[in-house]
């Protein structure tokens, strides 16, 4: 089956990973796709999303997935070292993509294509499917006889149907690994479908993220980074900050930050808001005030920022961000049950105690603000990409 074998030196020794293609050539094809991508923006994609994909496809970024998972790439010409484990792609993968318009679909598809495993993708039936749009673009612009085009044709299938369609069962019946993006209900429905003995389900459900800031660390760069991260998906992104926590500050500090964010918005987000976005911000500002927050709108009613106490009831509009001041204890105590990422800008070293405490509360990622949306082979704390391979122990 395999066309190439790549060696890595990791913590448990040398491993060999098999692929049904020339891995370096495939990665090079992904990298080359960036050239036409830089010239054409398909209608389905927002500019920020397309730019993120272009960066994601850079060859060193893709190779990093392997080094993070398996270790340092071994020099095939060097003295042979016994292989301690073999990794082979699973017989097939099935992915239920998010129903929202989400970049997670194309990103997951790219990463899983690197495993060489046959891949079946179910697109969201209720919304524009970015994965289909991306695959169409790739197939149109890749050299037809290149390894990536051949692999996409032979091993990657994308279909759109709803959750009641019998193809759901067909997907589940064949897949050695099922990856589901969805609500708890959707995940349970997929898990309940008949599936091969020994196969696995990995699920990515509704998660929330926050930004934690030290007042001392607040400068223009942090403000702009926070806005840039937030503006991509607003409250609809699982890695977007739904709340900003200003550690060790007070409500006046939170109000000041809300005002600063609103004032800085136009210099970070250049595009004018669509009327429905402005309408939504107006609603958010009033809703927040009704609930006891102090709200301020960005120019053009492009977004709304609301400062309040931990006791204030939440409001939820797409480009609405709440800001609270809290001690570290209060911030930890008020974390939602489905917390995923905390993006931080902290000036004081809090040592290793804080990440450990956050981990105990279910936080999967504690990363600098700028990396909140960074997608990789480990997501929600799950090594989904590594689990797309079977590991065969080799003893001597």
């Amino acid at each position: 089956m395999s066309d190439s074998r790549v060696l890595f030196d990791g913590p448990s020794g040398r491993v060999a990973v098999s692929f049904p293609f020339d891995l370096d050539a495939l990665i090079a094809d992904w990298d080359r796709l960036r050239v036409p991508m830089a010239r054409h923006l398909p209608d389905a994609f927002a500019r920020d999303e397309w730019a993120y994909l272009i960066t994601f496809l850079e060859s060193s970024q893709l190779l990093r997935v392997f080094t993070e998972t398996f270790g340092t790439r071994a020099d095939p010409g060097a003295k042979p070292v016994p292989v301690a484990a073999l990794f082979q792609p699973l017989s097939s993968l099935a992915v239920w993509l998010p129903n929202n318009v989400s970049l997670l679909g194309p990103l997951t598809t790219i990463l899983l294509s690197l495993t060489g495993a046959p891949l079946r993708l179910k697109g969201g039936s209720k919304s524009e499917d970015l994965t289909a749009a991306f695959l169409d673009f790739a197939r149109e612009h890749l050299p037809a006889d290149g390894p990536l085009a051949r692999h996409l044709d032979a091993a990657v299938r994308h279909e759109v149907f709803d959750r009641s369609d019998p193809r759901n069962a067909a997907f589940a019946a064949e897949a050695a690994l099922r990856i589901v993006f969805g609500s708890d209900e959707a995940v349970a429905a997929v898990e309940a479908l008949p599936h091969p003995t020994g196969s696995t389900t990995v699920s990515f459900r509704d998660r929330r993220s926050e930004a934690w800031l030290d007042p001392e660390a607040l400068d223009e760069t942090v403000l702009r980074t926070l806005l840039a991260v937030f503006a991509v998906y607003g409250q609809a992104g699982c890695t977007s900050p739904r709340r900003v926590v200003l550690l060790g500050s007070d409500e006046e500090g939170a109000r000041q930050l809300a005002g600063d964010l609103a004032a800085t918005w136009p210099s970070v987000v250049k595009r004018s808001p669509a009327p429905h976005e402005s309408s939504s911000a107006i609603l958010g500002a009033q809703w927040a005030r009704a609930l006891g927050w102090s709200s301020v709108r960005a120019p053009g009613n492009a977004a709304v920022f609301a400062a309040g106490s931990l006791d204030c009831e939440e409001f939820d509009v797409p480009l609405g961000l709440s800001i609270v001041a809290a001690s570290e204890e209060q911030a930890i105590d008020s974390l939602p049950a489905n917390i995923q990422t905390i993006g931080h800008a902290l000036s004081v070293s809090r040592g290793d105690a804080l990440p450990a405490r956050l981990a105990a509360r279910g936080v999967e990622r504690f990363v600098p603000l700028a990396r909140m949306h960074h997608f990789g082979p480990v997501w929600d704390g799950i090594e989904f990409w590594r689990r797309s391979f079977r590991r065969i122990e080799v003893g001597r």
């Binding site: 999303e49 929202n100 989400s102 970049l103 509704d206 409250q235 808001p273 309408s279 107006i282 005030r289």
Partner: protein, 347 residues
């Protein structure tokens, strides 16, 4: 109690009186509704109608807003039909406001369909009337026509099934009465009455004067390529002269105020109401260009829905209207287009 309601709905306007009554309402709701007080904190009484504060229509889907004052006797909750997929709006009615709102809708509708009473045929099920605790927008709209009815007849056996229309009842009424009034949601009127109408009924209605009144919007029919001209033509086929189709625009958040489409294609603002158009980004009031409709009226005493910023697009049209109903008029252009939600959360 507003004295504007004593005036002809589309006669000369008294803008100063309207502004004074709206300011009084704003003060009233600030004193009785804590949420409204917070939202309007720091606002001074308006010196021009453009300064009158508004509540965003979306608040009524998310909060139960009411004004707690001694003279407010709470009544039923009126619910919208939730066509946007964002949940239903809920408006708490009260006895005094309901009386004013009934007078208002009667005065407006009489200007379009005449005051005489005739059998009212409602494309809904009578079971809808008996819903506990609340009232749907559909039923409220039908009930607003009660002053024009000589007997109300609910024609659907199942409110959700246009095919359950009782044509025998229609035949009986058509054979006895020379004039009928029919109300239904726009898409139900098409599916139940036009698509389901038997030839026998069409023959029985020939020569009958029928006024069709409908509301609810065109989204479903536009998806099926049924536009207004065809809709009206099919409804009126074979009927007596003087038959007409009246399409009105109204919101539960402005209950009592309806905006029928006039013969010249515009919607007129009664003297106890007002319409502004605002640019979404700047909230500046604009005339002649599309923007968000802000709808106001002096009838809402029991909850702060006297001034509402909608997510409907409209355009004020200056100048006298050929229909003769005065110069305060607008065009309704549809809902604000929404983009799909982008992001991975909560799917």
């Amino acid at each position: 109690m507003s004295t504007l309601l004593d005036l002809p709905p589309f006669g000369p306007r008294d803008d100063a009186r309207f502004l004074a009554e709206m300011n009084a309402l704003t003060l009233r709701h600030r004193s009785g509704c804590e949420a409204y007080l917070r939202i309007t904190e720091g606002m001074e009484p308006a010196t021009r109608r453009e300064e009158l504060p508004f509540l965003h229509v979306g608040l009524f889907k998310r909060m139960a807003l009411s004004t707690e004052l001694a003279d407010v006797r709470p009544g039923r909750v009126l619910e919208s039909s939730s066509t946007s997929g964002q949940g239903a709006s809920q408006v708490r009615l009260d006895a005094k406001s309901s009386a004013l709102q009934a007078r208002s809708s009667r005065a407006i509708l009489a200007d379009f369909i005449g005051p005489e009473r005739r059998p009212l045929l409602v494309l809904d099920a009578s079971a809808s009337l008996r819903r506990r605790g609340g009232m749907s927008a559909r039923i409220a709209a039908a009930m607003s026509l009660e002053p024009f009815s000589e007997g109300m007849h609910f024609l659907l056996g199942d409110a959700a099934d246009p095919a359950s229309l009782d044509w025998n009842r229609v035949l009986e009424l058509a054979r006895v009465h020379g004039s009928l009034l029919v109300y239904g949601f726009t898409w139900i009127l098409w599916q139940a009455w036009v698509e389901g109408r038997p030839a026998e009924v069409e023959r029985a209605l020939a020569g009958t004067r029928v006024h069709f009144v409908h509301s609810g919007g065109w989204k479903k029919l536009e998806a099926a390529s049924v536009h207004r001209d065809r809709f009206d033509r099919e409804l009126l086929r074979g009927l007596a002269p003087g038959s007409k189709v009246v399409d009105y625009y109204g919101l539960v958040e402005q209950v009592g105020i309806v905006y029928p489409l006039c013969e010249s294609g515009f919607r007129h603002v009664p003297v106890w109401a007002e319409v502004l158009v605002r640019d979404a980004a700047s909230l500046a009031c604009i005339e002649g260009e599309p923007g968000l409709l802000q709808l106001m009226n002096v009838l809402a005493l029991g909850a702060p829905y006297h001034s509402v910023l909608t997510e409907d697009l409209g355009r004020l049209v200056p100048g006298a209207c050929p229909c003769g109903r005065g110069s305060r008029r607008f065009e309704l252009l549809g809902r604000v287009p929404r983009a799909e939600v982008r992001g991975c959360a909560n799917v």
